[in-house]
Amino acid sequence: MPPPNTPEEGLVATTTLALRPFVRGEPASSAVDLRALEYEGIVDENLICPICRVAFVAPIITACDHVFCHKCIVQAHALNPVCPVDRLPLKLASETQTAPKIVHNQLDNLMVRCPNKSRGCSLVVARSLVDNHVIRYCDKTLIPCPHPSCEQSVARKDSGKGCLHYDAKCEYCEQVHQKADLKDHQDSQCRNRKKNCGLCKVEVVRHKQDEHMKECPEAETPCRFAPFGCTRQMSRKHLEVHARACEYRVVGPMGEQLAELRAELGVLQEKDRLKDRRIKFLENKGFPMPSTSSTDTMGDMSLSETPANTENAPYESRDQYFLSLFETMESKVERLSSALNEVEGRHSMMLFNETLPIKDQLTEIRSTMGVLGMHVRWLMNFRLQERGRVGTGSPNVPGSLTQENSNGSSLPRRLSDTLRENPPRL
């Protein structure tokens, strides 16, 4: 088997492209045939293709200013290479282009009915969105049956129920239908599908009886004011009359207010409980509250003794005054601690910011040191070799070195000695 993109394959692709007279503007194949759609309302005559007499699909405008569907003009041009309206000669490739955006927008905004209308979808949607609706969302779209060995299709809304392609007997007419079609059969085909409602005598579809019972004028229904105590039950059609005269009608609004008040009460109780807990917490924190009796006396005392204080702080009792003082203190402490936190944070940030460049410099210095060390080692090696050569007694040594030789120290004892004597010239 040849690898992909072999020359032959490329050739095939180009020839098919060349065979097609015109490829530009071909819309991506969509699941919905836009020409088969039912348009809501009357489509403007200016948006209708003169060839297929339907609102344009992928409109193309010619050099002679006529607009056609892409598919239509390609088809017409293949038979006769002229403009289908004015019969002027037309070159498809060079004398046509996609119609202006405004035309596309107008077409996109046309309202259409969902193509699954016959299956019960009543959606009316902009034409540009119908594709998405049908492919992804419409409950009535037929999709392959979820059962792996079943090859039939089923509406999307039933796809979660497993394979419905088995025979089931209609409970009203004894006919056998596939389970998937049974509901449809009972809705519109079954000869026994209709029956008269036992209460109101109106003909109803049997399997929608439950829905009918919710609005049957004869069905027994409790009074609208049942929550407020009315125990009367009667057929729906009498209920309206009864409601107007029901004794509980007056109570009704009161009842609603009562419910509102109850809800408010619940909220308040909850608040109260929270407050209680807070007080208990404070008591446990080492502020033993004076007993109730003493509080009273103390309160009296403070009231009588320091009227100025009570004016500043209109508290009911001394305890509450202390409590509020305590709370303000607490909040101050909280503020202080947060300020402290902030200062700490700022300091650590500053410290960090300053240490960072120092660290950088340090690493830089370290690397420079390393480089220097390497230089030194290389130079010393160099010097060492030179010394070695001198030691063997080369005749072409400069005078200074011969002097050293005469000193008798053929080699320096330590490497650093040489460095000290002859600092390397860098």
Binding site: R35, C52, V54, K71, Q75, P84, V85
Partner: protein
């Protein structure tokens, strides 16, 4: 339904709801949209007045890219219609070089009716009738009326 079928059914609907004057259009077979039958009442103030003419219109499968074919099923004395059982009509819009996909059946039918009001003796199918039309108008009118009386009586 293909787009061609869709167009044809649309045109049929259009022609039945607002037909050209004096015409009633029906489908001989409910299943075949490509064959139409038309009943045309002769336009007033012409020798064909009060005549009832049956026409057949057949739409090719390539419609609207190819022109439809219209024939008189009722015989008629007219320079542009063959004086035989086929009843071919010489109509410029139906000629292949003149047909364009943007043309519509309704336009064709209106042209057919116009041909009865104003025959075109310069482009005749029946040269004898055309000659008569040009030279002896009274004789032509008489012949045309007698054809109407013979073949195109209402209720026939």
């Amino acid at each position: 339904m293909s787009s061609a079928q869709k167009r044809i059914s649309k045109e049929f609907q259009e022609c039945t709801t607002s037909p050209p004057p004096g015409m009633t259009i029906t489908l001989p077979s409910e299943t075949d949209l490509h064959k139409w039958s038309i009943q045309l009442t002769g336009p007033p103030n012409t020798p064909y007045a009060n005549g009832v003419f049956n026409l057949t219109l057949s739409l090719p499968t390539e419609y609207p890219f190819k022109a439809p074919a219209v024939n008189f099923a009722t015989r008629i004395w007219h320079p542009n219609v063959t004086n035989d059982a086929t009843g071919n009509i010489c109509l410029s819009v139906l000629k292949p070089e003149n047909w364009k996909p943007a043309s519509r059946v309704k336009g064709v039918l209106e042209a057919v009716r116009q041909l009865l009001v104003e025959p075109n003796p310069d482009d005749p199918l029946e040269a004898r009738i055309a000659d008569e039309f040009r030279t002896d108008r009274a004789e032509f009118d008489k012949n045309a009326r007698s054809y109407v009386a013979q073949y195109a009586k209402a209720g026939k």
